[in-house]
């Protein structure tokens, strides 16, 4: 175990954390604001990258590719939303259906132009294409360093979200997540808002995916597997560490991005300590399970006032 190898890996972890931070902000919108667990993001986290890479290899500029990736994500969110609201499918199941369907679609997208018509991955080299970011530049002090690009994207996204959730429409989305009865009584179309929230969330996740595939130089049909867990981990870590300090909405989103960075730093340390990378998903699942259980445990076992009240009764 040489500390140098860990230090060398840290910039990459930061860059990855920033990119996944964007994804986690998307998860925050459904999970925290709308109070829905949307599992379609596991599919969207590959769709965005697939669309981005295939557009670029077919000669479109990176910005057009990015835009189309986001639109593809928005469309995926719409599908989940329709499953949930118009077809009455519980949101978790609706997300799983979309995610499963997207797997086939992602294979098709990546296979555009190939003789087989499907492909499970597609590379895009920074030498041949004008990418926004690449892990090759992660240790350079320059504007095209993926950390710098990531920071710009995260900051812009937080700015847009801060503005949006302060508008009339954005407030009605927050109300929908906070209290549906109250929202309907105040004339808010809660179904429409849920669909809208899912669309925004998946659009953001697809953006993150499109950036990630540029960073790593390829898109892969499996790159979104377990994305929801990483997103939740980032949201929860951000909340646990910065929750008391960051009460403003923009800062809360920032905490989510920090959460993702911390997640990847921790992963890097764990790998450095000798854990096999194939065991990472198990580790992530366990960590998220423990953090999700924490508030429940706190309520159940540590709440003294409750116990005392019971003793009095």
């Amino acid at each position: 175990m040489n500390i140098q190898s860990l230090l060398n890996a840290l910039p990459g972890a930061c860059a990855q954390g920033l990119i996944w931070g964007i994804m986690a902000i998307g998860v925050y919108i459904t999970y925290k604001i709308l109070d829905m667990a949307d599992l379609s993001v596991d599919g969207t986290m590959a769709t965005g990258g697939a669309v981005c890479v295939i557009m670029m290899t077919h000669g479109y500029s990176v910005w057009v590719a990015l835009l189309c990736a986001v639109l593809a994500g928005i469309l995926a969110g719409l599908v989940t939303g329709v499953f949930h609201t118009l077809m009455g499918i519980p949101v978790i199941l609706a997300g799983i259906l979309t995610q499963l369907g997207l797997y086939s679609i992602n294979l098709r997208i990546l296979g555009i132009g190939t003789s087989a018509g499907t492909a499970s991955n597609l590379t895009i080299s920074v030498d041949r294409y004008n990418l926004l970011m690449s892990l090759r530049h992660v240790r350079e002090i320059a504007l095209n360093n993926p950390i710098a690009v990531g920071v710009i994207f995260v900051a812009a996204l937080i700015g847009v979200m801060y503005w949006f959730f302060g508008t009339e429409l954005g407030c009605s989305l927050r109300a929908t997540g906070a209290n549906q009865n109250m929202s309907r009584a105040q004339g808010i179309n809660t179904s429409l808002n849920k669909v809208l929230g899912l669309m925004i969330s998946n659009g953001i996740v697809a953006l993150s995916s499109a950036l990630l595939c540029q960073y790593q130089g390829f898109a892969d049909v499996n790159m979104g597997r377990g994305a929801i867990v990483i997103g939740l981990a980032a949201v929860i870590i951000g909340d646990v560490i910065f929750g008391k300090l960051f009460t403003n909405f923009a800062l809360k989103l920032l905490a989510v991005a920090f959460g993702a960075i911390i997640y990847y730093l921790v992963i890097q340390v764990v790998l450095w300590l000798g854990l096999n990378s194939s065991d990472l998903k198990l580790l992530s699942a366990l960590i998220v399970a423990v953090f999700l259980a924490a508030p429940y445990w706190k309520e159940r076992y540590l709440s003294r006032t409750k116990k005392e009240a019971k003793a009095d009764a």
């Binding site: 302060g166 508008t167 009339e168 429409l169 109300a175 906070a178 009865n181 808010i188």
Partner: protein, 264 residues
């Protein structure tokens, strides 16, 4: 202002839990009417209210508010005609949002939610003034989360939210039942004041006979999904507890003494 024509509603039809909740309800409210509704548990008081609000579609009959047939409209579309306060203080407000944000949401009831800013500086001043009239000190806590408020404070806030945009009809669903007697009285006083000052038409479901007699200009008694007694004006003013108890025994064929809830 409100017209209910022969409303029927059965829950869980065709199952062992089948329950005919509304059994041909017809009712006409005039503008400015303040009706109190009493009846034993399961009489259909809250069900009528939910039928008007559009929580679920009715089986048959029609609902007309201010000349417009709303029978087929979903809950959120009917909201522009209605102000609502619920039994559970948690239901009427968004706990994780600020007091002023809740008010701003209510202010836009019936309007399109656009990308304009969700709450303006000018509005904030307006809300501060209106909160002051509640006399609960909420005007100094405008940015506090509603979850921090007590049940009584939340009901008073919900009442203000329900009337911020003058409703055609104010629906009160046992809105003081979950409060302690002193708070309940205060909220009822506020209710009276708001209804009087805004000349509202109101429909108040209550468990409390005394309240039903003391408030409003008209009283309706329900039993088994039907209106069995409807009294207004001078006659209602003269009503006593004993009159109501006798009336109930006479019309429903059972003694009201057996129903503790109604005596509460």
């Amino acid at each position: 202002m409100l017209e209910l024509n022969n409303i029927y509603k059965t829950f869980n039809p065709g199952t062992v839990n089948e329950k005919r909740a509304l059994n041909g309800i017809s009712l006409k409210l005039n503008e400015g009417d303040f009706v109190t509704v009493i009846g034993s548990n399961g009489a259909g008081k809250s069900t009528v209210l939910n039928a008007i609000a559009g929580v679920w579609p009715v089986d048959s009959g029609s609902i007309i508010i201010d000349g417009q047939d709303v029978t087929g409209l979903p809950e959120y579309k009917r909201a522009k005609f209605l102000g609502r306060v619920f039994q559970d203080p948690m239901t009427g407000t968004a706990a994780t949002m600020e007091i002023q944000e809740n008010l701003a949401l209510a202010k836009r009831r019936g309007a399109r939610r656009t990308l304009r800013v969700g709450i303006t500086k000018k509005e904030q001043e307006e809300y501060r003034e209106q909160l002051r009239t509640l006399d609960l000190g909420l005007e100094d806590r405008m940015t506090a989360k509603v979850g921090l408020l007590s049940g009584g404070q939340r009901q008073a806030l919900t009442l203000l939210m329900a009337t911020l945009q003058k409703p055609k009809l104010l629906l009160l669903d046992e809105h003081t039942a979950a409060l302690d007697p002193k708070t309940a009285e205060k909220v009822l006083k506020t209710t009276d004041a708001i209804i009087r000052e805004n000349h509202l038409t109101a429909f108040m479901v209550t468990h409390n006979m005394k309240d039903a007699i003391a408030h409003g200009n008209r009283l309706i008694m329900m039993n088994e999904g039907k209106i069995i007694f409807d009294v207004a004006g001078e006659e209602k003013k003269k009503l006593t507890m004993k009159d109501l108890l006798d009336k109930f025994a006479e019309l429903s064929g059972s003694s009201i003494q057996s129903d503790k809830a109604l005596l509460a």
